[in-house]
Amino acid sequence: MRKILFVLTVIFSMLIISFAQEQNSQNSQTELDSEVFEISKELRCPVCVSESVADSAAEVSVNMRNKTKELLEDGKSKKEVLAYFQERYGDWILLAPPKQGVYLLVWLLPILAAIIGVLILGFVIKNWLQKTNQEVVLSQDDIDIVQKALKEEN
């Protein structure tokens, strides 16, 4: 147990050290910084088939990244940058649909589905628990399972 703990601690520390990068060391040669790519990941390249502005090598994507940088330098926030492009290209340009109107469906339905799933789960478990309380008769199946389990399990 101690050995295991030791190995775990070593692996874990290595992991942490790897995570902790020096952040944002910029110099004069840096044309675009992480923030620009972060934001352009949320924009869809207008002329590509299905790529984000951050991922695409298309000419207009290069220009849009530069534009993003300019807007950030003007003191615009991420929200404002996204709104800038949304104004020009429409909702289509946003890789995450705005949370309004008919687009709300795509945001709410998965959450709704998960909630309904959990409710059904709760209902089913409750139902099956009650069943058990009523009948406590061992079937041949059960006995088989127990014996099989005894053989296999530890």
Binding site: T30, S34, K41, E42, S52, W128, K151
Partner: protein, 667 residues
Amino acid sequence: MIALGQLGSAALYLAAALAVYSIIVGTIGAISRDAKLLTSARYSSVAVFLAMTTAIVTMEVALLTSDFSVKYVAAHSRLANPTWVKFVTLWAALEGSVLLWGWILTIYTAILALTAKNNILRPWVLVVMQAVQLFFISMTVIAANPFITLLKAPLDGPGPNPLLQNHWMMAVHPVLLYLGYVGLTVPFAFAMAALITKQPGTEWMTQSRRWTMTGWAFLTAGIVAGGWWSYVVLGWGGYWAWDPVENVSFMPWLAATAFIHSIQVQERRRMLKGWNLALIIMAFSLSILGTFLVRSGIISSVHAFGDGPVGPYLLVFFLVLTITSVSLAILRWDQLKDNASLDSALSRESSYLALNVLLLAMVFTVLLGTTFPLIVEAITNNKVTVGAPFFNAISIPIWLLIFLIMGIGPLLPWRKAKEQTVIKNLGFMLVGGFVATIIAYFMGIKKVYPLLTIAIAAYNVVSLVLLIVGAVRPRALATGKSTGSVFKQYAFENKRRFGSMIVHLGVIIMALGIAGSSAYRVDQQIRINYGESAIFQGYELKAKEQFMERSASKISAGSIIEIWKNGKQVSTLKPRINTFGGNPQTIPTPDIYYTFKHDLFLSVVGEFKVGQSYTAIRAVISPIIAWLWFGSILMILGTIYALSPNKKQIKVKAVQNTTENKKGDEV
């Protein structure tokens, strides 16, 4: 001498005819229980395989000898291409990949015909496999015949899509994926056979378990290979973009993952009969639906093959498939009922149920997100995009919940867990997660999701340790053997269980890799004059010069960049732009310096002109991204381990069984 195109077409027609024959004979034989007819159906399955093999060999010969009288070769191959590219051009476009898919199906069917246990299920399993197979073969014949012969053969062709020839991984990824999809066909066929023969017990799933696991492993490998391909080929240093083509391979994977967990409840407790059937029907039909969505071209995807007659064909197959299987399940409703009951909400059973719910919520999210632009357009005529930020926002919380259950589930015994034990175990795990989070926080990780991932990973690792300790320690105490030897014995004798632990460990490592490489990614565009250098995240990038490499099939132009660290040169990277002859498209191709700690990824951006005095590169540091690949390899190895038979083990077990049986009798 007959032309290759005609030979290939003939082989396809023969395969289709044999498949029809096999279905008819197999069905009549199964109904009338005529052994001769059934044998004939089995051997005709082998004949279908041979006919399809002829077709595929013909196509390979046509590709390798650049026979441009065959339309597929003319449209997708090129004289100057290296042999391996010519070879894999078979699956670089629609017609060829459908042919490959069909061929893999015939391999599986032939193996089943020859090796499946001779019982009431077998004839129907083969009929279902043949039906699916007939669908693919007839699709190649009718909607996507690769053997159409051109009257005027061109002298050369344009070659396959440049993105696909850019890396050998592309040779592997589709094949793995098809092996996975086809692997899911087998349990589906068994499930259908079970419904038809009114045997919805556990027989069908125990018999198809190996196939299911193999299919799942191939699907996993195929998806990861696709991610690896994106990483090394596309110029942005990512591996997963939630592109529809990725999503549609992910959906059957999720459903199959739910299935392989959920069937254990049926094996142990004879419950969830109907549910498990529903899951495998879902997994298989999702693989067809997904293929339809991306191959019909109705959804924008980077890798869509464009529209064609294949779309309607696949949709019809999807509808026939789902309607038939659901109707069959209605007919057998009474047999599918089981006396489901639970002794406690705190049990292995309920953890699997919860996992089912979460994985299906995930399937629903991916399906909804992928088709949502279509839905919105149908309703409002507006155009909208659903991409990575949406999927990440919804799926990360679901995954964290899945990991929560993944940790506690395996520690819960079947039937009923002792509350005290659960609380004790959970205590250890939560303390592990909490301590890890605190350490991580003070070591500088302040972002929420990475912290949560670290917490949940530590929680899961503690769970795995508890599982092993729980299994090994009592034995060691009882037998007086050393812990090490007991552990070895345990791992050796419980391959399925130990294999699953390896898979889970792989999942945890992957999750860490994903969290680290996305949350702490540093992504910059840097401009360096040749002869000068730039500092990026502790590395000195020295831009030496431009280079140009030419081969018969491609031209590469790029920058030679030396990577220095602490005054020592550690690597030389050559990010480049590739142009494949015959195609004007330029493909920026990255170069990567791999380390255990992080990868340094360089890719040329913007304009690249010969004689330019500077180079503009995109430099990306992805922390612990290697963990992602390592974790996925563990997942595959774990599955292989769980599936591996071992002669020694069987002997040992036989001896033990006799002694344990005695014990069992005493109890």
